[in-house]
Amino acid sequence: MSSLADDIRAGDRRALARGLTLVENDLAAGRDLLVALGAGGGAHRIGITGPPGAGKSTLVSALAAMWRREDRQVGVLAVDPSSPFTGGALLGDRIRMLTHSGDDGVFIRSLASRGALGGLAVGIYDAADLLAAAGFDPVVIETVGVGQGEVEICRAADTTVVVLAPGAGDVVQGMKAGLLEIADVLVVNQADREGADGLVSALESAAELRDAPAPPILKTVATRSEGLEALCAALDARGADAGSGLAERRLDRARARLRATVDGRRADRFWEGRSDALEAAARAVAAGERSAEQAATELLEGDDA
């Protein structure tokens, strides 16, 4: 596996793509790869979220073009929903990012949500780690088009950009649901359309009602790259952690991930060779002979972990 890590470090895009497949599918080889690659520094992880049709993919593409001018390597993870019935998915975010085709400095990977909550995908944390370790900075995570409660992105990203478009969603709905609360930067995209100024003032008054410092509210027209300088500057300012709370966000994420990773590995170890015991205990619980707590206590007896 060390050779795959070496190839990724050397900039081999095919190797990187295969590595992403390993971590996305939570294969043991993916874990080994992440261990071999190490941390690779503190890439700025930028989450882009917002309702469907707000222009998230187009905005990501325009941002990537700006960052390429500074010769930064841009990694993009674009999530689209999986069907809960067939498991299939139609991943179409690349269509809006075709201008970067052929540029090795922009790496775009489409991920299906595969039942993950909050508009993200299974393995998205590891996928972002992999891109960061491969030298990409920033790493952009574009969520599925979200409505109200899908706010997981603010845990996976250092900085959350909420993208809205005039008429694309009732601001009051957003207030209720927390989409505005997770925004470190608010973008009103398609700002050349009617209703943009109204949306900006509505967002401003919504922000005033809250107890927290108001996030910057920026207008963009992503299709024409308008307003992108100001957005990049706002993102860079936050990335530089000028009292932006980024360090705390990273610490929270690190803590939560370490717990989850250790719990997961421990659980794997615990269940190894215990499938018969699980089956027997489950039958006893299902038949009403034991409570779940009793059966769990018995299963855990003698486990020193």
Partner: protein
């Protein structure tokens, strides 16, 4: 990648060449999604370079090209060549469109997978891709 055979099949569906008809490609993309595939759809007027670039980054199992422009004898071999150049020859190249049988045979001899004419039931396409990908995944592990 042994336990990996459970993972969904990933396929890139693209419309190559200059003609602007992507109805067929869209129907196929939606159909394969409903069959449980993860379909990356990149839309119209894709050059072989763009197609292979996307296929490599997405680490797909297969590429499905829709072609009605008559340029199949240049586009399919070019995509195949680029896949090999990028070390991605394991990716199945298949597709469909209006392609004479003699050309299909010639392309098949070059290493292109089966090509499907108009009106092919989606189930045939699905079954073919599943079988091919299973075999290719097994050889890779």
């Amino acid at each position: 990648m042994n336990a990996a055979d459970e993972r969904p099949i990933r396929i890139l569906v693209a419309k190559a060449g200059l003609d602007g008809h992507d109805r067929g490609a869209k129907v196929v993309a939606a159909g394969l999604r409903d069959a449980g595939f993860e379909v990356i759809y990149t839309g119209l007027r894709q050059t072989p370079e763009m197609i292979v670039d996307a296929a490599v980054q997405e680490d797909v199992d297969a590429v499905g090209l829709s072609l009605h422009s008559g340029a199949h004898m240049t586009l399919f071999p070019r995509v195949l060549e680029l896949l090999r150049e990028r070390g991605a020859e394991q990716i199945l190249l298949t597709g469909g469109g209006i392609i004479p049988e003699a050309d299909m045979d010639a392309l098949s001899a070059m290493g292109v997978g089966r090509l499907f004419g108009p009106g092919t039931p989606l189930a045939d396409l699905e079954a073919y891709i599943r079988a091919e990908v299973a075999e290719r995944r097994a050889t890779a592990s």
